[in-house]
């Protein structure tokens, strides 16, 4: 079983002035295979730092991180990442973006192109293989980014506000797509988001983080992702339990922000 285990993670940055910033403090959790986790929190609470640590772009200054028993030591194919702006390679076509990972591995060409077709179909981009990525809309670019990550068959998919830059309508469609992929592939997915609704909808589990120093504040276990597989997400959003949880979390984050502002002005 490839579970993600975080054990008392500490992360301290040193600014150029020599000040120390405590970005994460004593963060511990275990993410079982196949779980869908969303992370929420006010800005500056260390969400992205946590994700970068798991992706291996940063090293924790304390504590241990492991995936499937192996300590995380630098970026790896088993932890795929989807960025906010897609971070597509605009000099390549859609298909070339999608098979980038396989080409770097020098995988079999025929097998690669079969997989590309398959994944383009899953994300709903069949026939766009030869299109340059800069001609795609934002939602389509994000689909390419998803396919590019998934084709490598990672154990864990990390998403850093993947739908943040999309319009509301596209966003809803993409949320369904993420849920569909989660259901069909059974991947472990960790999503960082600003939107409370999105976090509720795309989280089997939900972490609310608190700032200064960044830490896990509260954890929820939610049923909405399961519902979302069968129901229209808009109906779920009107559900009583959904709205209650949403208000509770919003108040929680609002208070945190107030507290920060108070600290800052004091």
């Amino acid at each position: 079983m490839s579970d993600l285990v975080a054990d008392a993670i500490d992360m301290t940055f040193t600014t150029p002035n020599g000040d120390e910033v405590h970005a994460l403090k004593n963060v511990s959790f275990t993410l079982k295979q196949g779980e869908l986790l969303s992370v929420l929190g006010p800005s500056g609470c260390g969400k992205t730092t946590l994700l970068n640590l798991i992706a291996g772009f940063l090293r924790p200054t304390g504590g241990e991180l492991s995936l499937g028993g192996n300590e995380i030591d630098g970026p790896g194919v088993e932890r795929g990442m989807v960025f906010q702006q897609g971070a597509l390679f605009e000099w390549l076509t859609v298909a070339e973006n999608v098979d980038f990972g396989l080409r770097m591995k020098k995988a079999d060409r025929r097998e690669t192109s079969r997989k590309v077709e398959e994944w383009l179909e899953i994300v709903g981009l069949q026939g766009f293989g030869n299109t340059p990525t800069y001609q795609l809309s934002g939602g389509m670019q994000q689909r390419v980014a998803l396919a590019r990550c998934l084709i490598n068959d990672p154990d864990l998919i990390l998403m850093d506000e993947p739908l943040g830059a999309l319009d509301a309508l596209t966003r809803e469609k993409m949320q369904s797509l993420v849920l569909k992929i989660w259901k069909e592939t059974g991947k472990t997915i960790m999503i960082i988001t600003h939107s409370v609704e999105e976090a509720l909808l795309l989280g089997e589990r939900l972490f609310v983080m608190a700032p200064r120093p960044g830490r896990l504040h509260k954890e929820y276990a939610l049923p909405f992702a399961e519902w979302g597989l069968q129901q229209d997400p808009r109906e779920i959003k009107n559900h009583n339990e959904f709205t209650q949880t949403r208000e509770e979390i919003l108040t929680m984050i609002w208070n945190m922000e107030e507290e920060i502002m108070g600290k800052a002005s004091a």
């Binding site: 790896g76 194919v77 702006q85 000099w91 770097m104 800069y134 990550c149």
Partner: protein, 632 residues
């Protein structure tokens, strides 16, 4: 019809067409303004402005077109005019030394102005004597000399001082000028002139038909008349120059005075007195030229010249009008071997002459200094093999080079065979290879640019990625880059010699710095998320550099190449002007030395067109390679 005739016809038609167009511009502009005036309430101010716009632009264009095309238009309509004006210019050159003595173009008679100048000099000397530098004794001694030199100067202007022989000479010169005037007036050509005209027409190139602007021999009746009087008038001029109003008594007076002053100065201790003597000596040497005559003494010559002027002007006729209209920027002057247009606007490109010069230079058999502008020559393949294969590979072959044997033959072995191959010493078919000034310039730029890209881009990327490389190489590059490339040129050309390698190295330096900076900017500008994405997709460091950072830096690199080409092109031309035996810059520089405006214009236009071509090519490449730019 000759090529020059067709050229003339074409230019003439173009000229008339342009004049008509511009006249209608003016007419249209006037009409628009009138509309505005009669319709003051509802008039369209934009249209009215348009009217002034048409007049201003139209009239200024007329002036420009006139400046540019008048020369060609004159050639089209009056093909003999330039040759005739050349003959008139010969006459003017001949009589100018005489005319300059009289107040035709100047304000004063030459004798008057000389007298004035020398009187002032004498007054200056007198003032000096009255300063404190001289003792009273000196003054007493020197002041009489001042009086004497005044008298000597004045004695020249007395009519009775003029010698009989000089009076006779003056009379004779006046008569000889009148003879030439009468000859010109009669208009009957001397024996054999017709044959000479026909021969000149056949033998010498036409107006603008060669690099000689206007060939010197007359090709028409009118021209031949002027040519016929030019030579005798030159002789008269020369005789006139020998006439001196300096008889033996006058010269003796001067000599006596000079000797006395020298004696005084020799005996004197004072520096001021010696100085006075020196100045007096200079003054006397000028006066003894004898160029001042009694006021009316030269009248016979003056009136003869005036009469010649009337006849000349009468015989010139339409030539004066052509000169004024068709040569607005200058006039035709006679030289020893050819006539040419001279004047403040001489540098303006004459369109058809520039085209003709370009066509002449384009002929591979003519070219410039024996080298065509752009052509090809057959080169054996062996030469290229010899250039590309290093000679030392022969040294690596085992064995020894053969020595000659007793009977004087040289045996061959494997080593000699390889050496022959490496030096290109073997029979091979030939292939055509481009050659010429233009090709040389282009190749130098491309070679320098290629080396600059080859070394600059990897280094720039490296500097963009590694802090060590940035810290290490940045100061080195910044040491040489701020120096203008042309400041390096003399040093580099001295080290490498005037051949291609020096210029290529100079261009390499230029391109290298630009490429390093652009590649570095491109590399540092790569979004971190892209590198992270590639990383988590399993790319190694080298793969990230090749597949992410390099393509991501392409816009900057290509812009760098585009800038490099432009800067290299400019630097190359200047370097070629400094040293070298081929290249467009070389051509321009040599043409500059002989003031050959047409060739200079041809090179300017060629350089501009090639620069534009390079830029268009780069724009095309940029458009094709980085279509995503600005669309992310």
């Amino acid at each position: 019809m000759t090529a020059e005739g067709i050229r003339g016809l074409f230019i003439g038609a173009l000229f008339i067409g342009l004049l008509l167009t511009l006249a209608s511009c003016w007419w249209y502009g006037r009409r628009l303004i009138r509309t505005e005036k009669t319709d003051a309430v509802f008039g369209n101010p934009v249209k009215a402005l348009g009217g002034w716009h048409w007049i201003v632009s139209g009239v200024s264009t007329i002036i420009l077109v006139w400046l540019y095309f008048s020369w060609d238009a004159a050639r089209a309509f009056f093909p003999d005019a330039a040759s005739e004006m050349c003959q008139v210019a010969k006459v003017e050159t001949a009589i100018n030394p005489m005319r300059s003595v009289f107040p035709f173009e100047s304000r004063l008679l030459k004798g008057t102005s000389i007298l004035d100048r020398e009187s002032r000099q004498i007054n200056n000397l007198e003032t000096q004597i009255n300063t404190g530098a001289f003792t009273d004794q000196d003054r007493e001694q020197l002041l009489p000399y001042i009086e004497r030199v005044r008298q000597i100067l004045a004695s020249q202007t007395a009519p009775e001082s003029l010698e009989e022989s000089v009076v006779a000479d003056i009379q004779s010169i006046g008569q000889r000028i009148d003879e030439q005037s009468a000859f010109l007036q009669a208009g009957v050509l001397p024996e054999g002139a017709d044959a000479a005209i026909i021969e000149a027409r056949d033998q010498q190139p036409g107006w603008g038909g060669s690099s000689q602007e206007i060939p010197i021999e007359p090709i028409s009746q009118r021209g031949a008349m002027f040519a016929a009087v030019a030579a005798p008038l030159a002789a008269i001029s020369s005789d006139f120059g020998k006439i001196r109003n300096a008889g033996p008594a006058f010269l003796a007076d001067i000599k006596a005075l000079d000797d006395e002053v020298k004696q005084v100065a020799g005996a004197a201790e004072s520096a001021a007195v010696k100085d006075f003597a020196r100045n007096m000596n200079k003054l006397l040497k000028r006066i003894d030229n004898g160029v001042v005559f009694p006021p009316g003494a030269l009248e016979p010559i003056e009136s003869a010249l005036a009469r010649l002027d009337v006849v000349k002007s009468d015989k010139q006729g339409s030539l004066k009008l052509i000169d004024a209209i068709a040569m607005p920027s200058g006039t035709i002057m006679a030289g020893n071997t050819a006539c040419s247009e001279q004047g403040s606007g001489r540098w303006l490109p004459k369109p058809s002459d520039t085209v003709a010069t370009f066509l002449r230079l384009s002929d591979p058999d003519v070219g410039y200094k024996g080298i065509p502008l752009l052509w090809y020559k057959e080169k054996p393949l062996a030469e290229m093999v010899g250039f590309l294969v290093p000679d030392f590979i022969a040294d690596l072959v085992p064995g020894k080079y053969p020595r000659h044997s007793d009977d004087g033959t040289i045996p061959n072995n494997l080593k000699t065979t390889v050496l022959n191959f490496a030096t290109g010493n073997f029979a091979s078919p030939s292939v055509p290879v481009p050659t010429g000034h233009v090709w040389d310039s282009i190749m130098r730029v491309l070679a320098g640019l290629f080396l600059g890209i080859l070394l600059g881009v990897p280094l720039g990327l490296f500097m963009g990625l590694s802090r060590f490389a940035k810290g290490f190489f940045d100061p080195l590059i910044e040491l040489y880059r701020p120096v203008p490339p042309l400041a390096w040129a003399p040093l580099i050309l001295t080290i490498f010699g005037i051949n291609d390698d020096g210029k290529i190295f100079l261009l390499f330096m230029v391109a290298f710095a630009i490429m390093v900076i652009s590649a570095r900017t491109g590399a540092t500008g790569t979004q971190l998320s892209k590198i992270h994405a590639a990383h988590s997709l399993g790319a190694s460091r080298w793969q990230i550099v090749r597949s992410v950072i390099l393509p991501n830096s392409l816009p900057e690199i290509l812009t760098g190449i585009r800038i490099s080409i432009g800067v290299c092109w400019g630097t190359l031309v200047a370097a070629e002007m400094l040293a070298g035996t081929t290249g467009i810059g070389f051509v321009e520089n040599v043409a500059r030395k002989s003031s050959d405006y047409e060739i200079i214009w041809v090179t300017i236009i060629l350089l501009g067109l090639l620069g534009l071509l390079f830029d268009l090519f780069m724009r095309f490449i940029i458009h094709k390679t980085i279509p995503w730019r600005g669309k992310g």
